[in-house]
């Protein structure tokens, strides 16, 4: 456990020492703020639903960009071999990096608290759905981080890792909008695979056990896939 925390700390330090984290977070804020507030007054409702609705799309760009370096860089620079000689297991490395990614997503979400605070001044804001939405956003972020980690472990090239991760996240986000391509008997199954489909409930302010199970499954599959790839590379 200590190793996990140590690796997580190291990765977080790497993020926040360089200006990259601040640039990524401010661009994320700018984009979500812009898209949220352009439709906010059109609906004239004091809620954050439109903001949460946006998150699957913005996260599928943001998170692969954050996670792309986690393994690729180590493989490329050659520090990965050194890491393996240290007394850490694959699981420690994996969980440490995963945790760092999730904490980064949480850090990106913290400045957006200013939206509900701002809205609370303008109208009666319900805090229940907002809290649920943020928890759900963290779950969504965690599942995308797992996918991004998997993409990053596949290759030593960060750009390829980014594009692969983005492609998977984007497919998960958009697959429930593309149902007309699939035969009728598969509609339910394919729709269930969509991350956006599950996140809609959370954005509304409903916690459904199926959505939680889905996101945890994606996290598990992503992490287990990464674990397999790492074993293969060894």
């Amino acid at each position: 456990m200590q190793q996990v925390i140590r690796i997580c700390n190291k990765e977080l330090k790497d993020y926040f020492i360089s200006p990259i984290a601040y640039i990524v977070i401010s661009i994320f804020l700018l984009v979500t703020g812009w898209f949220f507030f352009t439709t906010f007054f059109y609906y004239n409702q004091a809620d954050l639903r439109n903001f949460f609705n946006l998150l699957p799309i913005t996260f599928s760009f943001l998170i692969p960009a954050v996670t792309m370096r986690l393994f690729s860089e180590e493989l490329n620079v050659g520090s990965y071999e050194m890491l393996l000689t240290l007394p850490v297991t694959f699981k420690d490395i994996l969980l440490g990096k995963f945790l760092a990614g999730v904490l980064f997503v949480a850090a990106a979400l913290v400045p957006t608290f200013s939206y509900p605070i701002f809205i609370a001044f303008m109208g009666q804001l319900e805090w229940g759905p907002v809290a649920g939405g943020y928890l759900g956003a963290l779950l969504l972020g965690a599942s995308f981080v797992a996918v991004g980690l998997f993409a990053s472990s596949l290759t030593r090239n960060q750009i390829i890792a980014f594009i692969v991760g983005m492609a998977i996240c984007f497919t998960l986000t958009l697959i429930d909008k593309m149902l007309f391509f699939f035969p009728g008997s598969l509609l339910g199954v394919i729709g269930y695979l969509g991350a956006d489909f599950h996140f809609q409930n959370i954005a509304k302010g409903i916690i459904d056990s199926r959505d939680i199970v889905y996101f945890l499954s994606v996290v598990f599959i992503g992490l287990y896939g990464t674990h397999l790839v790492m074993q293969e590379k060894n």
Binding site: N44, Q45, P129, G205, I206, I207, D208, S209, Y214, Y224
Partner: protein, 132 residues
Amino acid sequence: MGKQKPYAKYIKLFIYLVIIVLINVAGITLFFRMDLTSNRLYSISEASKKVVSTLSEPLTIDVFFTKNLPAPYNNTERYLHDLLEEYAIHANKYFNYRFYDVSPEAEGINPSAQENQKLARNYGIHPVQSKI
């Protein structure tokens, strides 16, 4: 890291995948929903749940709504979507709902809008003017 048989880990992966799929399938029938809104906006009553889950004949709800209305009507439309979805979650296979676009400005672009309007008129639903 003991020397495993090369295919052993793939079998393990496969078993894990099957377990995950089974958990998800079980989750579809055994689920709970928690409504976080203070006045339970998205919850339907027990009586409604019972009615829609014991339908014995097909029930189709047709909704005629103009698209892209200004607030507060766009919210009404979205809320109607949410509510019908909530019914669909608790209903059996006989429950269906469908939204028809009857926007007057879409007539030129969307040829079905005019037919939808005709359909609505046949049901005895006439367009309502409202001022905001």
